[in-house]
């Protein structure tokens, strides 16, 4: 077993896992010395009424709360700026992000840009942002992106490029996991985001460069929780125990990949989002199984280790057998999920494969983390196999 003995590990210093914990947001804001807060969320959650109880609880505890609920998917820079303006207008002393990855990413940038005078376009890249930021609490409503424990925020620029701000300042003060907020997720969303979280754990565990004992331990535990609860939340959407375990699994996977970055599954997924507006989790799910099969020659031992996490108690005669069992488990799991299974189901045609391949190759920063080197032909072949 090769263990990376040199590493740096950063994470969110405080995680609260509590059903109905969102009703305690007022007290948590007070702990962070804030009286005026901006709640950042999206129109869908607002319409669904999911914000009512947390907003009321914040007001009941005497805080001045302003709601910004216009976060858009893959947040455009202009939308982030609008949220920043809202925070300045209400002189917010703290920011709460409540929602999926887009809301949490927006909240990170609002806290950063309001805490220290700087322009968004000047801080794209790694460690270019300056602190301090405003106090920040992140409350995910999917399980999920893991954004509540990552140091990245992705923005869509006016020229339709995706750019990222990477800085340890983006770790929130508190990540609050409230399973109640996830019971209403439609099955397809539960499934896509759950598979996304599993991909985070798998790719962190097989990451070629920064994998370490901490990311490994967290990834294994994440995968264990996610594998044991994925079917349960689809069968029983109101099962708070299973929903909690999915949230914790997603967060642990986030802690893992924040320190041991993701690889080819994500690289091949990005162009599907960019060109066909396939949701991030579904893009990952579509290419996951062929990438696992492709990686097998290089990652067999690692996949064999992960077999114990998804199939606890089973014994295997060899690494090859355990690796087969792991890939088999993931293949069957993805196949029974209530979402599209083929690229053609989301509008991709054979003519699109070259363009997708070209764009996937551009995601060099992730491809370098893949356990097996990936060529242009490999990528094309993977896409073609799931067309």
């Amino acid at each position: 077993m090769t263990i990376m003995s040199t590493f740096t590990f950063e994470t969110t210093p405080r995680v609260i896992c509590e059903v109905d914990g969102a009703l305690r947001l007022g007290a948590l804001c007070r702990e962070l010395n804030a009286e005026r807060v901006l709640l950042v969320s999206d129109p869908g959650l607002h319409r669904a009424g999911l914000l009512d109880a947390p907003l009321q609880a914040l007001r009941d505890s005497g805080l001045q709360v302003t709601l910004y609920s216009d976060v858009q998917a893959d947040p455009p820079a202009a939308s982030v700026q609008e949220a920043v303006d809202a925070a300045r207008a209400c002189r917010a002393q703290a920011v709460i992000g409540l929602g999926g990855g887009s809301s949490l990413d927006t909240a990170k940038l609002v806290a950063l840009l309001c805490g220290q005078e700087q322009r968004l376009e000047d801080i794209y890249g790694i460690n270019l942002a300056k602190g301090p930021r405003l106090p920040l609490i992140q409350v995910p409503t999917t399980a999920g992106t893991g954004s509540e424990v990552t140091a990245v925020a992705i923005v869509t620029t006016p020229s339709h490029e995706k750019k990222g701000v990477v800085s340890p300042l983006l770790y929130p003060d508190i990540a609050l996991l409230d399973a109640r907020l996830t019971v209403g997720l439609p099955p397809a969303v539960s499934a896509m985001t759950g598979i996304d979280a599993m991909v985070h754990a798998i790719e962190a565990y097989t990451s070629a460069h920064k994998k370490n004992v901490l990311s490994d331990g967290l990834a294994v535990q994440a995968l264990k929780l996610l594998a044991a609860n994925m079917d349960r939340v689809l069968a029983e959407p109101g099962d708070l125990s299973a929903r909690s375990d999915m949230l914790v699994g997603s967060m642990l996977a986030g802690m893992a990949f924040a320190n041991a970055p993701v690889a080819a599954v994500h690289a091949l997924a990005y162009p599907l989002g960019g060109h066909f507006h396939v949701p991030h989790g579904l893009s990952n799910a579509l290419v996951l199984v062929p990438v696992l099969n492709f990686n097998r020659p290089a990652a067999q031992a690692l996949y064999a280790q992960l077999a114990a996490a998804v199939l606890p108690g089973q014994r295997f005669a060899s690494d090859a057998e355990a690796c087969d069992a792991f890939i088999g488990f993931m293949t069957e799991l993805v196949a029974r999920m209530p979402f599209a299974q083929r690229l053609s189901d989301v509008g991709v045609t054979v003519e699109d494969l070259d363009r997708l391949t070209t764009d996937a190759l551009k995601v060099e920063r992730l491809l370098i983390n893949n356990p097996r080197p990936v060529t242009r032909d490999d990528i094309h072949g993977i896409y073609a196999s799931v067309l």
Partner: protein, 384 residues
């Protein structure tokens, strides 16, 4: 189904990582650092190395090198006074659990109006501490990733301060600092770390899936490397794994609690000055054996991590294998295993048992199996 999990926000692990300690304070905005350590660390030359690394990054440094085992309130107060006189705006703890625990309190007290005794208990501290970096030289207490400090008051009682502010900004793991540890310290601190992982995983009060993941990973690292570092103290890879395992076990137990092993160990430390790790090592095997009837499932689960690659016919076989493996590790550690050989007198056994059953109830509450004073006394007698 509600729990909190706190973590140190930044961990650096690298052979030679101590050289980066100056930059760590630079990033935290501290320029005047009090280095808290003990005379042994000075003799090993680590204090001078850390001081050079700090000064190379432009930090002014003062050294408090008088930390004692189970540090007294007087030690913490003297270090705090020195920090204030020096106008320290950062604290570096370098050493075993005693130095790290003292450093945490100094960082908190520098700008505080509160007297030390006002901090005893949970979340009593007000205000913010100055930047704090911790570098352990044992593997270990896990103190570098916990928000608790244990000190000894003037009445010779152990007092614990639990406070979120005690969590450091950065934990630096440098295995080179542990290469020279004597075998008995390596054994005692290594077993202590294993106890942290085991008691976190079986905690009846605050067991949670995050701590579980860290505890299991820690147990594999510690269990697979303790004999290696005992056989060859210069094995950098094994020393690194022990530090990493100790850190993860620390993250686990501080978020899930320890239990009866720590409970039974406390009076041995307080009354007879048996080092904390050794005291845990003395009682761990009999307590685990005692717990087996209630903790069979958890111990069976842990068997997979302590004995990777081994398969068991059923839960009871796995749990029994786990208990035997622990007994064998303690046996092979080379540590003295009889209380009578450590100057514990027989008349103290019932007194200690009562002290644990009544005075440290919170730790028994976290134990997988309840314990009466009679049962505690019987455990002490079994190793007398």
């Amino acid at each position: 189904m509600s729990y909190e999990f706190r973590s140190v926000p930044r961990i650096v692990c690298e052979a030679g990582a101590m050289q980066g300690v100056g930059q760590a304070f630079e990033q935290l905005g501290a320029r005047r650092v009090l280095l808290v350590c003990d005379p042994g660390i000075v003799r090993l030359g680590f204090t001078a190395q850390a001081q050079s690394a700090l000064e190379a990054a432009g930090c002014a440094v003062a050294v408090f090198d008088q930390v004692t085992p189970d540090p007294s309130t007087a030690v913490v107060e003297a270090a705090t006074a020195q920090a204030q006189a020096f106008k320290a705006d950062g604290v570096l703890g370098l050493g075993g659990g005693s130095s790290l625990d003292a450093a945490k309190l100094v960082a908190l007290l520098i700008n505080s109006e509160q007297p030390l005794e006002a901090l005893y208990g949970t979340d009593k501290a007000r205000g913010q501490r100055v930047p704090l970096v911790l570098m352990p030289t044992t593997a270990g207490t896990g103190s570098e990733v916990t928000w608790v400090s244990v000190i000894t008051d003037p009445q010779q009682r152990k007092q614990a301060v639990y406070s979120a502010q005690l969590m450091p900004d950065v934990a630096i793991l440098d295995p080179l600092l542990t290469l020279g540890l004597p075998a008995h310290v390596t054994a005692a601190t290594g077993l202590d770390a294993m106890v942290h992982a085991i008691e976190a995983y079986t905690s009846r009060t605050r067991k949670n899936p995050i701590a579980d993941g860290l505890a299991t990973a820690a147990l594999t690292l510690l269990g697979c490397n303790l004999r290696k570092v005992l056989a060859d103290g210069q094995d950098v890879a094994a020393r690194t794994a022990m530090l990493q395992g100790s850190l993860m076990a620390g993250m686990a137990f501080v978020n899930a609690s320890v239990a009866a092993i720590h409970g039974l160990a406390y009076p041995l430390g307080a009354r007879f000055h048996i080092p904390h790790g050794h005291a845990n090592a003395l009682v761990m095997a009999p307590v685990i054996r005692f717990n087996l009837v209630e903790a069979q499932r958890e111990y069976a689960e842990l068997a997979a991590y302590l004995l990777p690659g081994e398969y068991f016919a059923d839960e009871s076989e796995a749990a029994e294998a786990f208990v035997r493996a622990i007994e064998a590790l303690v046996n092979d550690s080379g540590l003295e295993r009889r209380l009578s050989a450590l100057k514990v007198d027989e008349a103290s056994l019932p007194l200690m048992a009562t002290e644990v059953a009544v005075g440290i109830r919170r730790l028994i509450d976290s134990n997988p199996r309840d314990m009466t004073a009679q049962e505690i006394e019987a455990i002490y007698r079994s190793i007398f």
